[in-house]
Subunit: 338 residues, 4 copies
């Protein structure tokens, strides 16, 4: 941590802060510049993070030097983490994993039709929501446990693992019984109690980046889960909010290489929510694969015109199938498989 | 709702969509322009909101005309809502209410000292957090129920009502027993299960705007609470995330008059979180009062240098006291009181 | 400037960079921490700014410590700058200055009517655009020199100084002959050649913050003008672009106290462009005055329904007059005059 | 254009506006809904754009239906535009074009070394700045005409066309003599006088998206150039400003397919400015190619540690060469060439 004093800070102000740093068991390194005094603090930065050194008289600003996360960092673990979902299905290896399915589970027929189709086309994991975070209380909120039962029954019938969203600490145990992967939505990325609760399971979890979260904050939210003992975290870029309004969100494709630099955790991309338009899912999926992501989360519905949620962004099964063929070629071009 | 067709959309595409609209029990009004066909849909827009008309062939875009919220809207209720906290304390009247106190409850002595001081200076409600949403799992997470007990004991001793944050559906009942006002933080603005749970109590709730929420989304979150039967909602502007980095967030002072136009609910401002710097709390508070807000939420700590959270943004009691005197003058200038 | 090395950076990498710093005539201060090595660089930071130290092997990041601007900074000049426009009219003193007038100069009658009215109501400076930056090439682009002639003639008739926008380096001399204050619009805040050209005159200039400029960048643009010798710069906050779409831009009222902390230059606020809605000009003006601004730039038109530009945001003269009365009360409440 | 009236708007208010619309020579289509009256306006929307209908009494809002641009739109011209630079070099065809070179022209040796190298590696166009838009007046501003001379001499020697930035209307003629392509930087995207001046030449121009410009605004700026008669416009996505601070800007890769939907003009991507870090140029370039862009603009410098500008983001020639090989594979995977 670097403490920058104001021009003209008094010696007693500087001495006062140095004493404080020493009292915390840390070692200050003082540099008196031509214009300002700067104090570098050597030692575990966490100790200082708790203490608001910027309110001391004479201090201009305090600049943290180290990243605030530990367990998720590339420095903590050099090699890429590979999250095993079940035999033959893992996320983070050279094989890019495709997770597909409808936004919401609506009926057994609907889910089964889509599931069989996306599995045939190359998806390894089935997605489908039973609890839906909707901005309006007057829209479809999901089938709840009934939806989870449908999900599990089709999962067993087709032999495909599943991912579904959890929104409430009270539902963690329930969902744990029915699905293979928890999904934490963008709006719950900083629902810290939910993160802790999921951290106490050992089940894989897809953690989506919040609508206006920085990459650092996404990593801090992952840190909550890891710090409780669950290292099976898959990060997901799904678009951030900007002033651009042609797309619903702006897919931050830079987040893929950025997360790869900063963390050992796998990162997947959700092009469906990013764009909010099915016609853009294909180019965004291609861009995501080319940028180095470990998987894609794609919404597919056999009849988007009748979908109970997010009809605008769901692909038809035949379009999904075509897309996977194109993605296989790009994967091969970068030395990976799908 | 307005449906705009693509230039060159086929007649059968237009007829197909018109039939769909009629099947939903709505009345289409077709305008064939020189360049495009436009269909206005008359009837309850909610019915259409559920159905993704933009995925129909030939459709260019679908533009909603009505606001998606009802109960919170100024059209639903013309006169301003006044939320009664207890005898003599209400939010939304001509009197601007000041809610003050430390970010976190740390000890009984700390809270009592601050509470007595801010009450003397003109605060009508005491704030203090027992459950703290922190971005890092390694920082102080609040005293939990122990903190709530301290809060209630001081509330009774000094005769001042209290507001405290609720973060988990499982804690609603607990907090209900100890505090007078629930506070839902920015990070939980779209924790829909929590909104519903709070909606089922009748207790006043301060709902903070999310870091990147639009005003419309804030109103939709409030709609969740009202739709469950709790009309005692106080909206709170606390700064939004932008690219500007001198302040921690950008206080959107326009949100105050905007909410007053769109809704009957009272709106307060939290200048402490918006700026993240105690030195800006004073000018932002003055701006907020001048813009027409119904209250302020201000963090005050008797020793910010030792605060366990948010030391940088908390005012000293003496600075708070001076600020209230200045705010009284501005309130008088706009025909209100504090 | 602080140079943070990667964990595990090699000694030769550190030595290599230290040598580079010394070669530049600067003094490195090395701190070897438990996790990382950090090098503080003592000396004029400008020298280093030119050199990309972050591309040296082993370097993690480079953090500047000093502000990149000098002449505009509060450290360079402690006392507030007061910009004299003409006898009896100055910006930056205790008296808040109101600049008002139509968005565009349309006809002599239109401008004269508005000018007489706003002068009567308390405006000290008349605004009116002759060169209009419009997003569409098919909309009214301003009257050009003809407009400037109208502006000057009314200025002389009514004895009121004027401000008008300059968009092109080729027009600087022309506008210099007709108006008392140059105005540089948000879209030209980083038109560096225009800034330099204006810097070579001695005439006061209102420099508007760019749509997505940081406060620091606004100050850097002002630095361009000052560095050419023109210290008569008035900064203007006019709303920044965010995801919020109820208002056209988001007025960043925090910019007023922030600029006051960082710079000695006066700062005014343009509530008309910020909101894009005339109904919000009044609350935003009040907030701006309460926050400590030195002036307001308000668009007034006697018939907004027929305005050739920005009709939606222009106040009627009678509404403007009422507003000024309210602003006088708020000014008095904070110890200033209008 | 759709005009939505307030709930409870009076009949005379509605009639008043209808009359106004008819006076403008347009045809109103009135829909009286259960809650609101809506008026669709048939006819050329431009006429109405000039007139602020939203200030009429009783009007809630006015929603434009048609895009404000014409000549740049896909509706105006169905097939992709291909911009010919010289024999054998064109942008917008199936072949993806790579434009490479240093940020600034520094010396003849420097430029020649880089130019020869990038040409060998597969670049078809040489970039290099002689006029540099820098945020600080104290940093290197470019060599000016001397730089242009170097650029032209190397262009002729190596037989490679060139692109260079134009910042000032006064320099258009000068640069026209030395370079093959004008480049308009992000900060000048709405320098409308410069756009018009370039529009009067017939030379190809790369128009970069502004830091916070929407896609629609980028197209409107292009419309300025086309409307003056120059159809040789190449659009360039170079990252937008968001709250994310790991990257300097956020590359909006969605802009590539979005522009392809909306316009016939070619679109290229500048990954160097988007990221601001050379280590991210490779993944972003791959993502851009996979998303369907027509070209890349990449900064290359043989000694970034000594670069006079933007050293952090420039690739070494050997890294550039490797990158092109990888991009060729991705191009092949999507059926294009480099």
């Amino acid at each position: 941590m670097i403490i920058v004093f104001k021009k003209g800070a008094k010696n007693e102000e500087i001495d006062n802060l140095i004493k404080r740093v020493e009292d915390l068991g840390l070692k200050p390194m003082v540099s008196k510049g031509t214009e300002r005094t700067i104090v570098g603090v050597i030692g575990p930065e966490d100790v200082i993070r708790l203490h608001p050194l910027d309110v001391f008289p004479g201090v201009d600003k305090v600049m943290p030097v180290l990243a605030p996360y530990k367990l998720v960092s590339r420095e903590f673990k050099q090699e890429d983490s590979i999250i095993k979902i079940r035999d033959g299905v893992e996320i983070g290896s050279n094989r890019i994993v495709i997770i597909a399915g409808p936004c919401s589970i609506e009926t057994e027929e609907q889910l089964k039709g889509v599931a069989a189709s996306v599995k045939d086309s190359g998806a390894s994991i089935l997605r489908g929501g039973a609890f839906k975070p909707r901005t309006s209380p007057y829209t479809f909120q999901g089938l709840g446990e009934e939806g989870l039962k449908i999900l599990k029954s089709i999962s067993e019938e087709l032999g495909i693992p599943t991912a579904t969203e959890v929104m409430d600490t009270r539902d963690v145990e329930l969902i744990d019984r029915y699905a293979d992967i928890f999904q934490i939505g963008a709006r719950n990325m900083q629902n810290f109690n939910l993160l802790k609760e999921i951290g106490q399971t050992k089940k894989p979890v897809i953690l989506k980046r919040g609508l206006s979260a920085t990459i650092k904050e996404l990593l801090m939210s992952a840190e909550y889960i890891l710090s409780e003992g669950n290292f099976n975290v898959i990060l997901c870029e799904r678009g951030i909010r900007t002033f651009e309004d042609f797309t619903r969100n702006t897919l931050d494709v830079s987040a893929v290489p950025a997360i790869k630099m900063l963390s050992h955790l796998p990162v997947i991309v959700d092009p469906s929510h990013a764009a909010g338009k099915w016609g853009m899912v294909s180019p965004l999926s291609k861009a995501a694969v080319a940028s180095g992501c470990d998987g894609l989360l794609i919404e597919v519905h056999s009849n988007p015109q009748e979908a109970l949620s997010e009809g605008s962004q769901q692909l038809l099964p035949e379009n999904f199938s075509e897309l996977v063929e194109k993605l296989k070629k790009i994967s091969a071009a970068i030395g990976r498989t799908i």
